[in-house]
Amino acid sequence: MAQIALDIGGTFTDFVLRLPERGTSLFWKVPTSPGDPTVAVLDGLDALLRHAGVAPAAVTTVLHATTVATNAIIERKGAPTALITTEGFRDVIIMGRQKRYDTFDLYLKKPTPLVRRRDVFEVKERVRFDGQVLVPLAPLSLDAAVAAVIAGGYRSIAVALIHSYANPAHEERIAAALHARDPELAISLSSQVSPKMREYERFSTTVANAYVMPVVGRYVRDLQAGLKGRGITSDLFIMQSNAGLVPPELAGELPIRIVESGPAAGVMMCAVVGRREGSEHVITFDMGGTTAKLGAIDDGEPAVMPSFEVATVNFRPGSGLPLNVPSVELLEIGAGGGSLAGTDMGLVTVGPESAGADPGPICYGRGGARPTVTDANLVLGYLDPDYFNGGAMRLDTAAATAGIQRQIAEPLGLSAAAGAWGIHAVANSNMERAMRVVSVERGRDPRRYAMVAFGGAGPLHAARLARALGIPRVIVPVGAGVGSAVGLLAADSRIDVAMTRVLRVTADASAAIARLYTELEARAQAQLARLGSVAGVRWSRAAYMRFVGQGYERRVDLPAGDMGGDYAARVVAAFQETYRRNYGYVDREASIEGIDWTLAATVPSPAGSGGASSWAGPVAGQARLGERPAFFPEAGGFVPTPIIDRYRVASGDVILGPAIVEERECTTVILPGDSATVSAAGNLIIAIGSGD
């Protein structure tokens, strides 16, 4: 019996092979194959199974996270897609929401839509906001639109009509007409992909779904065929943006839901690690080569948002394409190891531009000429020039120092070390801004949260960031370098359904709420029926609610169980409590309305609980590799700092800061005054002091 989790990232494809009977897990990493990612997946799989001595037939589950949908959108390599919409609203997609994402930049470019204007076709029809049909769908205009789409050779069609979230009948008739003409057409209806109010966001989501549908479908078929060809006939599950797994058929119908597949798996890993270490509330911190991603776990569950943006410009809100897809809450900013540093007006600047992997930082010696965060971390002594990526690459400290000296330190009148510290500190300050958004601005008190840090650069910056925000505890998990793949093994299957229905929540609204949830449950059941096993399904309800007159809704978890009698009163109480927690006051007299209603069904992990892989504690006392000078301003500058081998620490070991813990894929910095303990599971638990 064996379970495989695999995560295709931009640079590497990560594998975890879990062998419950042997009580171990193997981590594996191969370069992602550009063009056709299935090549690296299948080759890597062969090598991994051979290495482990496991027969393909013994594989019971394959869990998968992929960037295939994201890349199709970012690189604009999806299928030629047409949009059919209501007469008079051809330009919804071109208009967008019309706000400049930078007020002072009058020359900026709006995001290029996934359909051109000539790909948009209109039908005569109109529905009101309450679902009432004002203008019935005109047969002639329908025939004309279908004929135009067929003649245009489009293979994927998005259908998005005004107010269709309130009445899908016209969209469904258009789908039937298209299907009758060509059963092979891929069809996406806005009333199914995203049945929510606000036309631009709904249209955008539906068009994006249509745009990636053929690409994702082909990819999934190739992968399944490849697995079968190797004798792996087990179930395949794919990670969705909501951190839940679905079978490939469902992913193929609503492919837009797998856009944040990999990052969602990373957040899931943090939830699992947090739970295991007794932290139900976690800020997740994943810092890699070009970006940092921040997320949150509340009460042991990944925070899920109703929408997000894809393909942004420098991660500026409003610069990308909005997608109404339930997605793990992630804030991404241009702060990674490769982020470029410079000076401006006597200040240090970092990012959002990145040196990427090629040419990369100066210290890689591949032609990079501008200093990066990684160069600074090397000069500060945090990174070992001889043990970067497990020693696979040597770093040039002298070149990094010279670059920082010339480009940062001299213009500011600083020493090279202070210049490097400036880069490190400003990178942290940028991340602190983002982390503040995720925590304080969204009602999370950092003092109640732990931070789980992963990714190549996360554990290096984590402690300082936690200190700035007042987060008392940092956890650096085992296998931080393949975090997302680890997360797959812990994920449950999950189906999210939602609808927009504006409903005043008065004392007598219980029946109306119950009716609405009956409808949602029927829709969820239809999808659940295709999951295979649904033993142990858990239901959770949430609504997006506001005071009547407000424009912005807040997510409120609704009580589970029976919806009779006083249910509406309990819903009101849940809203008031959520509001009070976020804003410190609540007007108990004001009327309340619900706008979007959601239902999530989760089925326990396809991989089974299985327990974490064992942590074979090695011989204690062998872990200290030596020491080197590292820069800690609170200690007065460079101080001799112990270097600890992550692979040789034992459960229960305590490491006092300052110290540096090295492993192949990442380096953990422990600050003076802090201390780290190795947990029973092998995770590093850093207790963060105030720094005073």
């Binding site: 208009m95 019309q98 706000k99 007020t103 709006k110 958004v437 007159g549 424009g551 807040r554 007065g636």
Partner: protein, 569 residues
Amino acid sequence: MPDTLLRSDAGIDPIALSVIWNGFISIAEEMGTTLRQTAYSDAVREGDDFSTGLFDRRGRMLSQGNFTPGHLGSMPFVVRSCMEYYPAARMQPGDSIAVNDSFLGSGHYPDIFIVTPVWVAGKIIGYAANIAHHADVGGAVPGSQAVVGVTEAFQEGLRILPVKLVRAGEFDPDLLRLVLGNVRLPERVKGDLRAQLNATFVGARRLERMYRDYGAPTMEGAIDAILDRSEARIRAQIAKIPDGVYRYDDHMDDYGPGTEPVLVNVDVIVAGSDITVDFSRSSDQVAAGMNCYINFTRAYVYFSVKVFADALLPQNDGVIRPIHVVGREGSFFNAAYPAASGGRAAVQIRIFEAINGALAAVLPERAMGAFSHWANVQMGGIDDATGEGFILYDVVFAGYGGHATKDGTEAMSPILNCPNIPVEVHEAHNPVLIRRQELIPDSAGPGRYRGGCGMRKDIELCTDSAVLNLLGDRHRFAPYGIFGGQPGTRAETILNPDGEATALSSKERRVIRRGDVVSLRLAGAGGYGDVGERTQAAVLEDVAEGYVTPAGARRDYGAALNPTASRRD
């Protein structure tokens, strides 16, 4: 941390300075998030019609959020006025001041400012401020932005000179009753005021924390450095513009049906690292609700100069020091109280366009053709389906002018920076039906780089009656092209285009009835460069996309489509 370790030659730790500056910007942004998330009105929440700012104890602006430029520019003057009315000795922790006066504030009454002092150890160390456009502050028409029939400020609603509306963290109930008794949608106004207060409290808490962390000497040193360096940077940019006096003259349609055009005449004087923008040659102030008080003019002059000098500079007090704004007292751009000004939002684009026209000669790579302008529409009355009052507030945006390297952007917020309000939201909240909202083919000003297209939006009233208030422009004077680019088509507003069509003027106020359709057709934006230089490929692409019809292509680009003409693609 030992100071000596990181101190630069200049005596200020550049790293602490970087982090403090970052912090100021982040605080302004966090105030904006709070305001948006707790606001009640569509204008504030969907329309982002608000701004936030952070100030030091001397009232110098430290940072602002990425919001509406008109608000941004007037805020420094508002905070200083509040300080004059309420010196520190008259304030207690938790007190906040409100003001909406047109002269002291941002130029019309719906914009209410909340200014909250920030206290550390019993002393004011700074101010957190914000401004939000309220749904209504009373006066002649719903929405308080009438142009026509309003001749003095007393008809425009409730005027709030700086007043301590909040004591010890709570609204003064007596004053609040006075305010809410004068507005049409009291619940909404109250909710938005509450949201504004939340936001300043959030900002105050964070600024206070920074002072405690760094100490007053470091903070004050950093503030001086930030402002001085910002000033030095913008001065260096202005100095690159050749010295001289640059002029541009344009017109606004009128200030109501049957009135004269308004002259928009500017002299831009560049002398070394200083720039003076003088609107004195423009018309006198008018007897309609459209005049610009000096703070409003200043706001858009600052914005425009920054666009031309260095758009990426952060927004603070240092950046505005070398920019001087002049307007003859009593003129349209420096109106004297009690000039009416509710609809001055129609003018903001024109302040930029005048400066753009003047500086085009010396900064051709930054200049652009004129915008489509915009339409700011309100309909207010009773929804007979619910018996409740409503005010539809809409913003309609279309094209940007052609630019030195590209066609004008389609359908984006011009100068002011707000998202549109979704059709589905309008219809769910107001008794209206939006019949269409689409680009107008053949409307863009032709040129080597054409302007963006105009926009048509048809709104039908679905209740017995409502008061319609129109605020638009470019019905008579088309958006200009530059460097040989052609103007776009003129705007029109048609009542009942499919029935007894009636042409309305760009600024109008009238009662409309159930079934009436107001069809707004925004102008096309101006082109850039000679039509003959447009590539044939670009023209064909426009035809394929439907921005230009085949007939329009022949008319406007005939030479370029002629196969015997020189091939440029």
